[in-house]
Symmetry: C3
Subunit: 361 residues, 3 copies
């Protein structure tokens, strides 16, 4: 039923050719157009992973799960919109950790009095997130305080070193999750398979699934191109900063497919899946998408991307993780926990909306 949104793909293209100056319209139509494409990417990955067996399937899901975010960020990277790229990373983490999980807890809690899930897994996700934030803090601190005295070479080394550390941590995390301790995440995986197998739809063949994946990725890149192209103009028209557009709009659009399924699972009382999707997605962004963008920037971007976030961004992420860990640490949820997470998201969005673009961070 999300598929009727595909109508926005041609509409966006037509609009962009006919009235190229209608930035705001183009931007929001491209946002709508990306939603079904992102959904298609996620869906075809899942169909492929059914054919490949558990381990490789898990790997595929973990790697392509954030393909929409990655594609949008890559396009913005090529266009040299570094602030927007950094903002979309932070925004994706906030959107998954606070908004998606918050709405899922809220809507799930309105239907079920109390909901339960595995606290050990959510604790693991929290520590992973904190590790990731620490490794993002280090280059940012360095850039802000010490960059002037250090040779540029050192700065780059630190940046690359951190990207590598994150990727190694991610590889070991996959090993832990898929090979040595799958029982840690088992109820989530089991029900996910379940969901897939009995969701009524027939399995796609590999050629069909692969074809859809390639097609959807090309479409996503195309729409992202239009989206990013219109972003700056939209920001000016609506009085919003590049950072705000990246943190709120790009992040929500990029993660909409996954957020949608996290919320849907909560309505079915499958909280392990909800938590797994929302927090797992955060981890992929911090440990996989971010370092991949750093490495990719050496190839596609005008100059290397540095993971140097401002004070407000790091603070927001740190507080989000802290409250996420506190709220989800006991393996139980109710509607009010959803309100808490959503409230924090709204408060942080407020901050980024009012923050002047030229602020000293």
């Amino acid at each position: 039923m999300i598929n009727w949104l595909f109508i926005f793909v041609p509409l966006t293209v037509v609009l962009e050719h006919v009235v190229p100056m209608a930035y705001t319209w183009i931007f929001f139509m491209a946002c709508l157009a990306i939603l079904p494409i992102a959904h298609l990417i996620v869906e075809s990955t899942e169909h492929i992973s059914v054919h490949t067996g558990d381990a490789i399937g898990g790997l595929l899901n973990a790697t392509f799960g954030n393909a929409p975010e990655l594609i949008i960020a890559m396009v913005a990277l090529r266009a040299g919109l570094f602030d927007m790229v950094r903002a979309s990373l932070i925004g994706a983490i906030l959107a998954n950790l606070l908004l998606a999980l918050g709405i899922a807890f809220l809507l799930g809690g309105l239907r079920y009095h109390n909901q339960e899930y595995n606290p050990a897994a959510s604790r693991l996700y929290s520590t992973m997130m904190l590790t990731a934030v620490i490794s993002l803090v280090v280059p940012s601190t360095f850039n802000r305080f010490f960059a002037a005295q250090a040779a540029p070479r050192q700065e780059e080394l630190l940046n690359l070193g951190m990207a590598l550390v994150l990727l190694i941590a991610y590889a070991l995390y996959l090993l832990f999750m898929l090979k040595t301790h799958p029982e840690f995440f088992s109820s989530a995986v089991a029900s996910a398979e379940d969901e897939e197998h009995h969701s009524g739809a027939a399995q796609w063949s590999i050629p069909k699934a692969a074809g859809c994946l390639v097609l959807a990725s090309v479409l996503a890149a195309w729409m992202s191109e239009i989206l990013v192209g219109a972003a700056e103009g939209t920001g000016k028209a609506l009085g919003m900063s590049q950072t705000f557009i990246g943190i709120v709009f790009l992040a929500i659009v990029g993660g909409a497919a996954e957020s949608g399924s996290a919320i849907a699972m909560a309505r079915k009382n499958k909280m392990d899946l909800t938590v797994g999707i929302a927090l797992g997605s955060c981890i992929q962004i911090a440990l996989f998408v971010a370092p991949v963008l750093v490495l990719a920037s050496y190839v596609v971007a005008p100059h290397p991307l540095e993971l140097s976030f401002g004070r407000a961004e790091l603070g927001a992420m740190f507080l989000a993780i802290l409250i996420g860990a506190m709220v989800s640490g006991d393996g139980r949820s109710n509607w009010y926990k959803g309100v808490q997470l959503t409230t924090v998201y709204v408060i942080l969005a407020f901050l980024f909306y009012f923050m002047p673009e030229t602020a000293p961070q």
Copy 2:
């Protein structure tokens, strides 16, 4: 037995008229005079709430529980002592979270080897507090870093927006606590009723309770007027800053009634009540008293109150919440936990004592 302190009400008034320059004496006598008044406010609210049924009674208790703090802050607000108002808010949170809970754990632990309470409720309180701190951090950050570049209109909007978000979160919290999930807090509520009903004293009639409430509130306002009037002079005489007086003296005086009952309950091994009173009080201050003061400042104060706290204040509150959450997160207490909380309070009081008034925060 606290009632003999009422003698300080006339004494303070007399002293203020006879020796209006004896600031320090007036200040400390007014402190003593407010203690029984605050106790009377809390007591009459409870007597009224017995007549009104559970839901409205809970609402009344939650709203009037911090009436003494609110009255003192309101008087200081009208006098334009904004630093003192802000300091008394922070101080009230520190006093409840660290000092009252710490002394309760310590004295309770000296009598009972281990004491237990419901960890789910204390976890909820912690996340509420963190939400509140986040919403206090945002306007403060904004004021400190971005205010120069932003239009004053934006600053005010942000300030009002945050006050509104806090009040909505508080309303939903009352809904959660009183309507949808009362079992979460049940042992606390049950024993509280218990306590009330069997405490030997006869119930007051509504007219008597309401009369006492009005009388006590008027007295409280009068004494607060004297207290606040003498505060500045006392600070100068003792070499203490406005901030220190607000954070330590006003906060302890304003919360003394509730702190006293939290400690008394711990001595009776009713830890759920202890935790409910001490942490519940913190939440009311952060989510109810603070935004109400912001809104009230548009009416009673010379210019609007902004919730812009300094670095030291925010840091102190953040660390207090973190250690409070860690210490109370497992639902068990012993005397040493009390020592830990009290130690942190002493350390923070040290900091505020030595902090120069003109410090760049």
Copy 3:
């Protein structure tokens, strides 16, 4: 088997006399020479404590457990290398909390699928650590922000006051651990005794143990003298700052004996002991070694030591405690938790390596 490293004691002395300029060689040989000496100090303390009964034995262990760190820091203090002393304190905490515990979790987890320990004890350690960090933050903040406006006398008072608060908290912690709530730590203590009694070796007599302790302490002081003397030259030769040498090398060397036994216990699946040694050691450093150094500085150092840490040091310690608390809070460990802790250590070591010495902190 560690005893063959004693060969490095004479080697270091000879080298220092023959080629006094070979700083780097001398430094690393002195590092190796200290390892068996530190081990001997720990061992003889344990043998003495067998003769003295539980309470005094526990006290002895708790006091002499960090003797190597204390001796090295004392020597550096006398030489006026204040940055190195402060760095070695931070480094010792990081090394115990992240590196020793991380490697223990990792190696233990490679042998055992899941390992369990008492979460209540690890929670207590975490709150102790946070208390300690708060009391280190306060004088540091004061020095950084307010020192200019405050009288030097005030600064000194605050510094001494904090040292006293820490020592009192430590004394009460010993009382709690050894007298009132030993069952909290019981499994750890029981197995430790066990380990000692049945480790095959005969008990040493008091004279032998005391003699060894004195001899080892003298040797440790001698080697530390050489170590510290060569540290500056080594730093220049290898392009490392005083801070980095203190945080990484001195800290690892000083804590090697204990780290070694923490790891060995994990390999034997005695996780309570592992956690007790690693986290207990952190607490001793923060609550005992640090304030003792402050007090000692009035006697042995050119001017009083102030516990004023830079932004990066405090941030590193704060994040380390937060992640340590999150990781160890549920009483279960596996290899991936070890990877997480070790990763954070590596990231922080990166930061301190690249941090310019003259940085504004």
